[in-house]
């Protein structure tokens, strides 16, 4: 009887976890979308810096403004528990994001600060963009180093 009880419980547990397992597709697309917007706007600035695109103060300012805008998005709803790379496909978000939420939030905030510095610098020519680019790259790296799994 006891064994039967366990078996029933196990069956229920398995069924339940199947029933409640979600792919979090919308959340995943939303957060990956914002990274795309970041990369696109960083690309405009970086290409000007590398000399692959002519410097255009207005475009540079708009790109920097967009970075700040993304940094101000409320993130929480895009990162539900169980949407890590061990639980769902198509993400490199590691489970430690949910183990260290404060560190994760702090690293996102660091990006915001770096983006604001870029916002202040962007219309000042490539000589001003250059020094502001480093901290942005640093904030991307710092978060990816800890919280993102390698590709593949």
């Amino acid at each position: 009887m006891k064994i039967l009880g366990f078996a029933t419980a196990a069956v229920i547990a398995v069924t339940a976890s199947t029933a409640f397992a979600q792919d979090f597709n919308a959340e995943k697309k939303a957060r990956q979308g914002q990274f795309r917007i970041m990369a696109f706007n960083l690309g405009l600035l970086g290409d000007m810096l590398k000399g692959e695109r002519e410097y255009d103060a207005e475009m540079a300012q708009a790109a920097a403004d967009n970075l700040v805008t993304v940094s101000n998005l409320h993130e929480a709803a895009m990162w539900p528990e169980g949407s890590d790379n061990m639980s769902i496909d198509g993400t490199r978000a590691q489970p430690n994001i949910w183990e260290k939420p404060d560190e994760f939030a702090a690293k996102w905030a660091d990006f915001g600060k770096a983006a604001m510095a870029m916002q202040a610098a962007a219309s000042g020519g490539t000589d001003a963009i250059g020094p502001a680019m480093g901290p942005i790259g640093g904030s991307c790296k710092a978060c990816h180093e800890t919280f993102r799994a390698p590709e593949g």
Binding site: L42, G46, M133, G137, C140, K141, A149, P150, G152
Partner: protein, 292 residues
């Protein structure tokens, strides 16, 4: 009976030859003779060699990268290696080491008391370094803060616990010959030195054979990630199609041409490479483009 005696005799000879072949061989005593240490260049060697990425704490940033207390654990097919304390602490670090000791460790994989190091310490790459760079690095390392942190031993299974066996491994895999052989221009030569030597890029970017030696026929061809999910990407010209300028910019900023950013261990490597002169990053890019 006579056959048995012969058998025993041959077995003993074989064991003696094996023992002799597997002995730890330090570098030449005269290797460092007459070299004057330059700690300023030593700092550049320190970043080129990526010492802090493994020997500092895993999450170290800024000045904490200079505290080489060890303690990180490196996963491998043979067990987990614990990174040692190489801060200049006299007892638990390498404060008592001479430049010669450092050269033996880095270029021959031999400890001051004459034992083999495991090749998790990438001396197979460091063997290609110049003696001057090692002397300079030694002069820089002694200026760093000392840490009294004591780390746990490696966690390996038999037979990998027998260090003497590494002597035979070294016969197969320890060489100071360039992989990109032959005459190359000055920039590519500098890149070759940085990549194949101190930068030890191949240790992750080149696949290994069953014995853990690098598969030189698949140089920079990418490999499984030893520390978990995913793969270390191939960076030979067939696979890494970025321009030389893109590669150099990536090493400086961490940004790919698509403005994705470096992650994982490579984020640390970029942090190191960013401290080198721009000419060195360009040289690394030139070397990678020059690979077959």
């Amino acid at each position: 009976m006579r056959l048995l005696r012969w058998g025993i005799f041959l077995a003993l000879v074989g064991a003696a030859v094996g023992w002799w072949l597997s002995r730890p061989v330090p570098v030449d005593d005269a290797l460092l003779a007459g070299l004057t240490p330059d700690p300023e260049n030593g700092a550049l060697v320190f970043w080129a060699g990526g010492c802090a990425s493994c020997h500092a704490a895993d999450d170290a940033k800024g000045d904490d990268l200079l505290v080489l207390a060890g303690g990180q654990s490196l996963a491998s097919d043979f067990g987990a290696f614990t990174v040692p304390n190489i801060s200049p602490h006299p007892d638990v670090g390498i404060g008592g080491w001479s430049a010669q000791d450092l050269a033996n460790a880095m270029m021959a994989g031999v400890s001051p008391d004459g034992a083999h190091y495991y090749p998790s310490f990438p001396y197979t790459s460091y063997a290609k370094m110049s003696a001057q760079d090692v002397v300079d690095l030694h002069a820089y390392l002694v200026t760093l803060p000392a840490s009294d942190q004591i780390n746990p031993p490696h966690d390996l299974g038999f037979p990998f616990t027998v260090r003497r066996g590494i002597g035979l491994w070294k016969l197969l895999y320890l060489s100071d010959e360039w992989v990109l052989a032959g005459d190359v221009d000055a920039q590519i030569a500098r890149g070759r030195y940085l990549v194949e030597g101190p930068g030890h890029c191949s240790e992750c970017h080149t696949p290994r054979d069953f014995a853990g030696g690098l598969d030189l026929s698949n140089w920079m061809g990418g490999a499984p990630n030893p520390s978990g999910k995913g793969r270390i990407p191939a960076i030979d010209p067939a696979n890494l199609t970025w321009s030389a300028a893109d590669i150099a910019y990536y090493l400086e900023s961490g940004f790919t041409p698509e403005y994705d950013s470096a992650g994982g261990h490579m984020a640390k490597v970029v942090g190191n490479m960013a401290r080198l002169p721009a000419s060195d990053r360009a040289a690394i890019a030139a070397y990678l483009k020059a690979l077959p």
